[in-house]
Symmetry: C2
Subunit: 201 residues, 2 copies
DNA sequence: CGCAAATATGCCTTACAGGCAATTTTTCAG
DNA sequence: CTGAAAAATTGCCTGTAAGGCATATTTGCG
C-alpha cells in the first residue's frame, strides 16, 4: 500500500481530476454559460453535491490545471540553487517548467488560457489565483540578489509574472510560432533591463 | 437644462453612483458575503430589479469607482503630447491622475483596494476589468517610441500596470508613508530600466 | 472482522441573474 | 400645453448556484 501521499488522498485527487476534466471538456465544447454544474457532475460521475465538496464553482473546476501549473513553478523555483540572482532563478524556472510541460499533454494550459480570454468570469478567477502565487514567489526570492536599483522583490516578481502572462496571451491570440518562443521572447525583452551585472549604460 | 451629457443620462449616472455608494458602504461595514443585493438596492432606494439593470452583481457595484478611475487615466493619457515616449507618457499620466485624485475625496480608491485584497471575488473582478484597460492603454501607446530593446507596446503597458498595482498593494498592506510616494517609487524602480533610448541633451 | 474517520450523497434554504411585461417617468414634436 | 414615443423602473417568475445539515457509504486500521 502506498503511504507516500496516502491511499485515500490519491483517490480524492483522482476524483478532483475527473471533475476538472469533465468541466474543461464541456465548457470548451458548449461555452461556460451553457454548462451547468449538474452536467459537469454527471460527466464526472459524481453527485451534484460532491462537486461542491471539491470546487466552489465551475470556474474553479476549469482552472484547476492552472493551479497545478503554478505549484509546479513554485516547486521548481524552490529547488533553484541559492546563489542564483532573483531574475536568473525566475528565468530558469520558467524555462524548466515550460520544457517539462510542453512535452507532456499540456495542450490544456493553452485551452484554459483561450477559455479565460473568452470568459471574463474565468479570467477573473484565474488572475485572483495568481495573487497568492505572487506572494509565494516573492517569499522565495528572499535572499537572492536583485537587479541594480531594485529593492522590492515583490515588484520584480510582479513584473516577471506580467511579462510571462503577456507572452502567453499574445501567443494565444495571435498564434505566431511556437508558444515557448513567444513567452521566452517577452521575458527576454523585459529581462534585458533586469540583467544582473548592470543594465547597459 | 443641461444638454451637455443629456439630462436623462445625468440622472442615470446619479442613480448608478447612489447604488455604488450604498454597496461600498454596506460591504465595508458588514463584509461582502454578509450583504445581499436586496439590501444594497434598499440602501440606494431602488428596487432589487433596478439594481440588476445597472450592475451585474454586488462586486461590480463595489468596483464602479475603480472603473471611473481607469477611464480618467485613459482620458489623461490620450491627452499627452504625441512626441512623448511611451514610458514618459505613462509616467506623466500616473502623476497627473494621482495628483488630481488625491485632493478629491478619493479615499475611496484605497477603500476599494483594501476590500479587494480581502475578498477574492472582488479582486478577481477588479483584475479582469483591468484586462480591457490594458488593451486600451496599449492602443494609445501606438506611435510612441519604446525603450531600447522593446518591441511590444502591450508588454510595456503590462509591466507598467503591474508596477502601479504593486505600489498600491504595498501601500495598502503596509501603509508606509504617503500613497503617492510608494507608487511613484515603485514606478521609478522599474522605470530606471526603461528610460527612453533618446540620447541625453 | 468491526469500529472510527473520512467521504459521498440527498434534501433543503437562501441568493442571484436576467427574461418578460406592465407601469411610470422623461423627452420632444406639434 | 398636450399627447405620443422612448426610456427607465418595477414586479413577477424561472433556472441556476452555494452550501448547511443529516444520512449513507466507503476506507483505513487495530
Amino acid at each position: 500500500m502506498d503511504v507516500s501521499p496516502g491511499l485515500r488522498e490519491r483517490k480524492k485527487e483522482r476524483t478532483r481530476l475527473r471533475i476538472h476534466r469533465a468541466a474543461l471538456r464541456l465548457v470548451v465544447e458548449h461555452g461556460l454559460d451553457a454548462v451547468t454544474v449538474e452536467e459537469i457532475a454527471a460527466g464526472a460521475e459524481v453527485s451534484r453535491r460532491t462537486f461542491s465538496n471539491y470546487f466552489a464553482g465551475k470556474e474553479d473546476a476549469c482552472l484547476y490545471g492552472d493551479a497545478a501549473h503554478m505549484d509546479d513553478f513554485l516547486a521548481t523555483l524552490r529547488a533553484r540553487p541559492a546563489h542564483e540572482s532573483a531574475w536568473t532563478a525566475l528565468r530558469a524556472t520558467a524555462r524548466t517548467v515550460h520544457a517539462a510541460r510542453d512535452l507532456s499533454p499540456d495542450r490544456e494550459w493553452v485551452q484554459t488560457t483561450r477559455l479565460a480570454l473568452k470568459h471574463p468570469a474565468l479570467l477573473g478567477r484565474r488572475l485572483a489565483g495568481r495573487q497568492g502565487f505572487l506572494r509565494e514567489t516573492t517569499a522565495l526570492l528572499g535572499g537572492r540578489t536583485l537587479p541594480a536599483g531594485m529593492h522590492r522583490p515583490g515588484l520584480l516578481a510582479s513584473v516577471f509574472l506580467s511579462a510571462l502572462l503577456h507572452g502567453l496571451h499574445e501567443w494565444t491570440e495571435e498564434g505566431t510560432g511556437p508558444l515557448d518562443e513567444v513567452v521566452e521572447a517577452a521575458l527576454d525583452e523585459v529581462g534585458a533591463a533586469f540583467t544582473d551585472p548592470a543594465p547597459p549604460p
